[in-house]
């Protein structure tokens, strides 16, 4: 069962001045212990502590660039054009992968050769690394997901064939490049929502999603919808979003559990890596006679 031929996963991280969070991101990727990881770190010439923070891990990047670029989408696009992996994904420099994610992704694509792109539920953390909520998504449906930008980007992993058929990230977007990309991929790609948590999405005051959603974000989403001739229904998007939130609230309230995360809410996300606790006893040998 040991797969000698694991697929190469190429992960691109665009980074610009997220020195507070970038180390957690990089560690969450490197501590996956996935042997065939190709990690591309594209820094946009950060001027804060970013470079100092990632200095210890720099040797483990397949590609590291630190120079002024034309924004996040350009950095990701450049990363993808350099990537050689069979499976592609990108992870923003404030988000985290959950333990075991890359293993799962490799195994899932192995077991499901027809699936082109997978995504999972979203786990929301705050600046203090505490889990503050979830998004529990319904099984994938092109009709819905095409209309409303609800696919959690950080949990998306797709095959190279999709990338080759529909191209790279559109550099002209500043905010909704993931939505644009996913709508394009949805044309022919077979999507799948996996019923587990794959990554954690950070909400903090300097995140793009919290600062630009109302301005650039809405304009760009409107632009995408007109570009692909997507017809929206009034209120329906809001209701859909509300339903997802409601499901997540009940998920937390009823202490439900899905693989990838322990049940409950308000616990520190670092905990799930099982950091050693020195004052507790270690494993003992079996004492069978």
């Amino acid at each position: 069962m040991t797969k000698l031929e694991l697929p190469v996963i190429s992960l691109v991280t665009p980074s610009f001045n997220q020195g507070k969070f970038v180390e957690a991101t990089v560690r969450s990727v490197l501590e996956q212990r996935y042997p065939k990881l190709e990690y591309l770190f594209m820094d946009g010439g950060s001027t804060d502590a970013t470079l100092n923070r990632i200095a210890p891990y720099q040797a483990r990047f397949a590609c590291f660039k630190s120079a002024a670029d034309q924004g996040q989408s350009a950095a990701i696009a450049e990363g993808f054009s350099l990537a050689t992996g069979e499976i592609l994904a990108y992870l923003n420099s404030d988000d985290l992968l959950l333990p075991g994610t890359l293993n799962f992704v490799a195994d899932f694509f192995e077991r499901h050769p027809r699936v082109d792109l997978i995504y999972g539920h979203r786990c929301v953390i705050d600046a203090e690394n505490r889990v503050i909520g979830h998004w529990i998504l319904p099984p994938h449906c092109n009709f819905m997901m095409r209309r409303w930008d609800l696919i959690p980007q950080e949990t998306c992993f797709w095959r190279r064939r999709l990338f080759e058929a529909h191209g790279n990230i559109d550099k002209s977007f500043r905010f909704a490049m993931d939505y644009d990309l996913l709508v394009r991929y949805m044309k022919t790609g077979r999507f799948k929502r996996v019923n587990r948590f794959l990554a954690a999405f950070r909400v903090h005051e300097h995140a793009k999603s919290s600062t630009q959603l109302a301005t650039t974000g809405e304009q760009e989403i409107a632009r995408i919808q007109s570009k692909y001739r997507i017809r929206d229904f009034p209120f329906a998007g809001k209701l859909f979003s509300l339903a997802v939130q409601l499901r997540a609230a009940l998920f937390a309230r009823w202490n439900e559990c899905l693989p990838g995360l322990p049940p409950g809410i308000h616990y520190p996300i670092d905990e799930i890596w099982g950091k050693p606790d020195s004052d507790r006893a270690g494993v003992r040998s079996s004492d069978s006679a």
Partner: protein, 1043 residues
């Protein structure tokens, strides 16, 4: 000297006109007078070479002095003479005149040429000489004189005149005055020629100097080159040249006497007369002495070239001067530094001020911008039309609704807001309770409750009770403090309790006797319940009993105890009852006159006033000790009867009638209840048949905080107490139950060091015999089998099953394969497999022999690791918790098997989380551990072989194990339970000796036990294993989604 040759010397002070005279002499055909040979001065200084001379200069001087010795003057004389002669022969003349003005320095040598040679002394008025110095050489003699400068010009003026006149006075010298020479040249020249013994010759006053060698030399008077004739213009030149003061100085330098001797007395007198001051006589003597001294110094310095003399002095002075300058420089630099430092400070302050300024500027800008914005908003609002107003309202409404929606969702996620915890007042009456009071106090103060009021009422104890209380009060490590201590004589325990409650300020009351204990998190549970249920006034709990360090759960309190039960002598244990303040005050408080049954009276009256609510779990522990108040039960019941009578007197007959009716109903209900099967399989109540149990040690303490491994909340129910039944260690441990997840927790936990020590101690020499206890032992021969189970176990099935299988074989691999198969793992593939806790590698051997898997191990015990490696297995040494650090990166496993080790771990969640990172894509983690749902627990109770404290920290049920997997982020895939003859026989052996004895793992069981074990194993395989009630369980978990 040979005849026909003669030598003459022309002496005189410089600037006396000696050059003029020598030119005049040269006009005579027999005279040769070259310009200034300076020869004698050089001869005189023979051997005095400069310091830098290549030869050693002192040696040169000394050698020559030694060589010449006292022949010096004569030798020099002869040498000079021969030189003169040689030159004279070359010119073909007969008289050589040596004209060198400064010969006054070597008059001795000149004198040695007398009397053969002739000497001419040319004198001139000193004042004119001085004027000539000034005019021709720019030498200011008066200044030199006043400053007494060490200069050759001063020597000329002072020494020259003095020495020359003195020489002339004592030797045959022809003295010529310059004034006479220029006035009557012929007469004077004739005098000279006569003196030289030559014929007269008329000299011309026209001097054709250009034809002579005087034009070429640099010596002699250069001025004479411009004057073509002898003239008298220079006579008395001083009169116009010098000021009066300078004249005075010049006169004083030589003195009147010398002027007289030189023949210029009248001139001197005339000048003095003009000046109107007498010429000072002593000044010239002084000056002469000074100048002589200078000359002597110079001479000495020349004679001793090795001593640097005044040069050294000067050097020294210059060095000192330089040093002084350097010091000043340094001081200035210091000052500069200080100034610089001050400058820097000011600069810094300036920078800070500028920064502040910019910050303030920014703030100002922001404030202005905000101001502007607000102004615009105000303007917009003021000029808003009706439609805009409506639009704004609509926008606001939308925002409001959205906000409310989010708040509602938030509520939904977080549940209803928790009400604040009430203040709990706990009263402890104590009288001479020094033996147990400390653990009571600590068990209360150790509680993690934010609002506790703890009042201790002491009846003026005569022993060291108060000291202990004081010591505990000062213990900073406890989270709570004693609020109040009342110490005065009282009229018994209930008087003390009443006193305590009258001083109380809390919302919820309870009292704890001085030898009882609170269990972990008791107050929190009580407080939370009262906070969540405002209508409940009184609650009571199940109780535990502490005897000789063993803890037992007491018989369970039934639900819904009321006045009826209390009137019929049901006893409510006081330490588990808590009530609200208003209920206590409504019934008028506790009766102070009762000595023993005060609590009974209180419950009776409370039950008449409000409903009593039962809460599950244990909050307190009642200590049984010899000599306690409740030991005398007869007296207690008597007093209870009095209290009951008093109570009944106060209630109406109608109510009494109601209670009587209720009593009949209760009797019937109790009878029916007895027919029902008891459902609580983990209740092992106090074992009165084996009381008192043997006294045991407590490891850690009697109270503590056993917490659930899943969420860290307290495990609230006590199951039983047990010592080490494997090796017979005397320390006792309590087993608690986390009722939310069904996980048994051993308390107190044993530290890693102690566990390591125990393992090391028992690894090499485990006891091989069953150790039986002395005297009574609790839970001996516990047998909770149903009658049909007993019947089944009597059937001789072992005779059949011996042909079917061997129950004593190690079946771990078969079980593991079964579980993996059920988890949809392809077991025929070459799986990479990690056996975490592989011990001596028994499973690894089997895997190598029977499967295509590639197995490696992880084991903390070094001896066991060595054994494994001897067998050739790849085994890492270390705990599973540190597996990530030990096992090299990119080594990953399809199967990780934790065999009988998760129950030994302090923090099982983190162990699973870390092992999860070692799983390969699609890997499975399999855990095997004793099963809390085991049917054998029902049969054997606390004597079940797998309890095993302190080595087993947690015993998991299926629910607990699945919760553990989920907590670690896994999805539980397959749960199976199994049993083994060995463990059944171990349980049987242990059940036989009870908890006081110990049963080793290495024992070989005798026939009877083995047969019974085989029988029960058969039925387990047939029934219980399939129902999830086997002795131990396997759980396979995956790290993936279920689709």
């Amino acid at each position: 000297m040979k005849p026909g040759f003669s030598i003459a010397f022309l002496l005189g002070v410089p600037r006396s006109g000696t050059t003029l005279l020598s030119l005049l002499l040269n006009q005579h055909p027999s005279i040769y007078c070259p310009p200034e040979p300076w020869l004698l001065l050089g001869m005189d200084a023979l051997g005095q070479v400069p310091l830098k001379h290549a030869a050693d200069p002192p040696l040169v001087a000394v050698a020559i002095a030694e060589f010449l010795a006292d022949r010096r003057v004569r030798a020099l004389n002869a040498a000079a003479g021969s030189i003169y002669r040689q030159i004279l022969e070359a010119t073909g003349k007969s008289v050589f005149v040596d004209k060198t003005p400064r010969y006054y320095h070597s008059l001795d040598l000149v004198r040695s040429f007398l009397p053969e040679s002739k000497v001419i002394l040319l004198l001139r008025n000193p004042l004119d000489v001085a004027a000539s110095y000034g005019q021709s050489w720019n030498v200011n003699l008066p200044e030199l004189i006043t400053r007494r400068t060490d200069s050759p010009f001063l020597f000329d003026y002072v020494l020259g005149f003095n020495r020359l006149i003195a020489f002339a006075e004592h030797n045959p010298v022809l003295m010529i005055h310059y004034e006479d020479l220029v006035a009557s040249t012929d007469a004077e020249m004739n005098r000279i020629f006569a003196h030289l013994g030559l014929s007269g010759h008329t000299v011309s006053t026209e001097i054709a100097i250009n034809s002579t060698e005087y034009a070429k030399t640099s010596f002699g008077d250069r001025k004479i080159l411009t004057d073509r004739t002898v003239h008298q213009q220079s006579v008395n030149a001083y009169k116009t040249y010098f000021s009066r003061q300078e004249l005075d100085i010049l006169l004083g330098a030589l003195g009147e006497n010398l002027f007289e001797r030189l023949g210029y007395g009248p001139c001197c007198a005339e000048v003095a007369g003009e000046l109107n001051t007498p010429v000072p006589s002593n000044e010239c003597v002084e000056l002469l002495a000074v100048v002589e001294d200078y000359a002597a110094q110079r001479k000495a310095a020349c004679e001793k070239p090795d001593s640097l003399g005044d040069l050294q002095e000067q050097l020294k002075q210059l060095t000192q001067h330089i040093d002084g300058l350097q010091d000043r420089n340094k001081a200035l630099e210091n000052q500069a530094d200080q100034v610089q430092a001050g400058n820097d400070l000011l600069n810094e302050q300036l920078a800070q001020a500028l920064e502040r300024n910019t910050a303030l500027d920014e703030q100002l800008h922001q404030a202005q911008a905000r101001n502007k914005q607000l102004g615009e908003q105000i303007r917009a609002l003021q000029h808003m039309g009706f439609r805009d107003r409506l639009r704004a309202d609509w926008r606001y409404t939308k925002m409001f609704v959205k906000h409310r929606l989010y708040v509602a969702l938030w509520r939904l996620a977080n549940g209803p807001r928790k009400p604040p915890l009430p203040k709990i007042t706990l009263v402890t009456p104590v009288f001479n309770g020094g033996e147990y009071i400390e653990s009571t106090l600590r068990s209360v103060l150790f509680q993690d409750y934010p609002d506790l009021e703890y009042i201790i009422v002491d009846g003026a104890s005569a022993d060291h009770t108060l000291e202990i209380i004081e010591r505990v009060r000062k213990d900073e490590t406890l989270p709570n403090t004693i609020s109040r201590i009342i110490s005065e004589p009282d009229e018994g325990m209930y008087d003390a309790v009443a006193k305590g409650f009258s001083a109380a300020t809390g919302e919820v009351f309870g009292y704890l006797n001085a030898d009882d204990l609170l269990e972990a998190a008791a107050l929190k549970r009580v407080g939370e319940y009262f906070a969540a249920h405002p209508k409940v006034s009184v609650i009571y709990h199940d109780d535990t009993v502490l005897v000789n360090a063993w803890k037992y759960p007491n018989v369970r309190q039934p639900k819904g105890i009321g006045t009826v039960d209390l009137l019929n002598q049901h006893i409510l244990f006081q330490d588990g009852v808590f009530f609200r303040r208003q209920a206590y005050e409504a019934i008028g408080g506790i009766r102070r006159d009762l000595r023993l049954a005060g609590d009974y009276d209180l419950w009776l009256r409370l039950s008449a006033h409000c409903k009593l609510v039962r809460r599950p779990g244990h909050v307190s522990c009642f200590r049984i000790r010899p000599g306690q108040l409740s030991a005398n039960m007869g007296a207690y019941y008597q007093e209870a009867a009095t209290a009951r009578r008093d109570f009944l007197r106060t209630v109406s007959p109608l109510r009494k009638l109601m209670w009587d009716r209720n009593f009949l109903i209760r009797l019937v209900r109790n009878f029916l209840k007895r027919l029902r099967v008891e459902n609580d399989r983990l209740l092992f109540p106090i074992d009165f048949g084996n009381l008192p149990p043997p006294s045991r040690l407590l490891a850690g303490s009697e109270f503590g905080n056993p917490s659930s491994p899943i969420d860290g909340k307290p495990a609230e129910r006590l199951l039983f107490s047990v010592p080490d039944t494997r090796f017979g260690e005397p320390e006792i441990h309590h087993i608690y139950l986390d009722t939310r997840h069904n996980i048994a927790v051993t308390h107190p936990p044993v530290g890693v060091e102690r566990l390591d020590l125990l393992y090391r101690k028992h690894y090499s020499s485990p006891p091989t015999t069953i150790q039986e206890p002395q005297g009574s032992s609790p839970y001996r021969l516990v047998n909770h089998k149903r009658f049909w189970e007993k019947a089944l176990l009597r059937l001789p099935v072992e005779r059949v099953c011996r042909f079917l299988y061997d129950g004593w074989n190690d079946q771990t691999l078969a079980e593991l394969k079964l579980v993996l198969k059920a988890a949809k793992v392809d077991i025929e593939a070459p799986l990479s497999c990690l056996d975490a806790g592989c011990f001596e590698g028994a499973l690894l051997d089997r895997i190598r022999d029977a499967t295509p898997w590639i197995a490696s191990g992880l084991e903390p015990n070094e001896h066991a690791v060595e054994r494994c490696r001897e067998k050739g297995h790849p085994v890492w040494s270390g705990h599973a918790e540190s597996a990530l650090e030990i096992i090299p990166e990119h080594t990953r496993f399809d199967v990780i098997f934790l065999s009988q080790s998760i129950e030994h771990v302090g923090d099982p969640v983190n162990v699973l989380r870390r092992l999860r990172l070692l799983l390969a894509a699609g890997g499975v983690l399999v855990v095997s551990t004793p099963n809390l749902d085991s049917r054998e627990i029902d049969w054997f109770g606390p004597t079940w072989a797998h309890w095993h404290p302190p080595y087993h920290r947690h015993i998991f049920s299926r629910k607990g194990l699945c919760a553990l997997a989920r907590k670690a982020g896994f999805r539980p895939v397959c749960f199976r339970t199994f049993s083994h003859c060995y463990w059944s026989s171990m349980s049987l052996a242990q059940n036989w000796v009870g908890l006081g004895g110990s049963v080793s793992h290495a024992v070989h069981f005798d026939g009877g036990i083995a047969i019974r074990a085989e029988r029960s194993n058969f039925w387990h395989r047939l029934i219980w294993n399939r129902l999830g009630k086997g002795d131990y369980s396997f759980l396979a978990m995956r790290d993936d989604s279920d689709d």
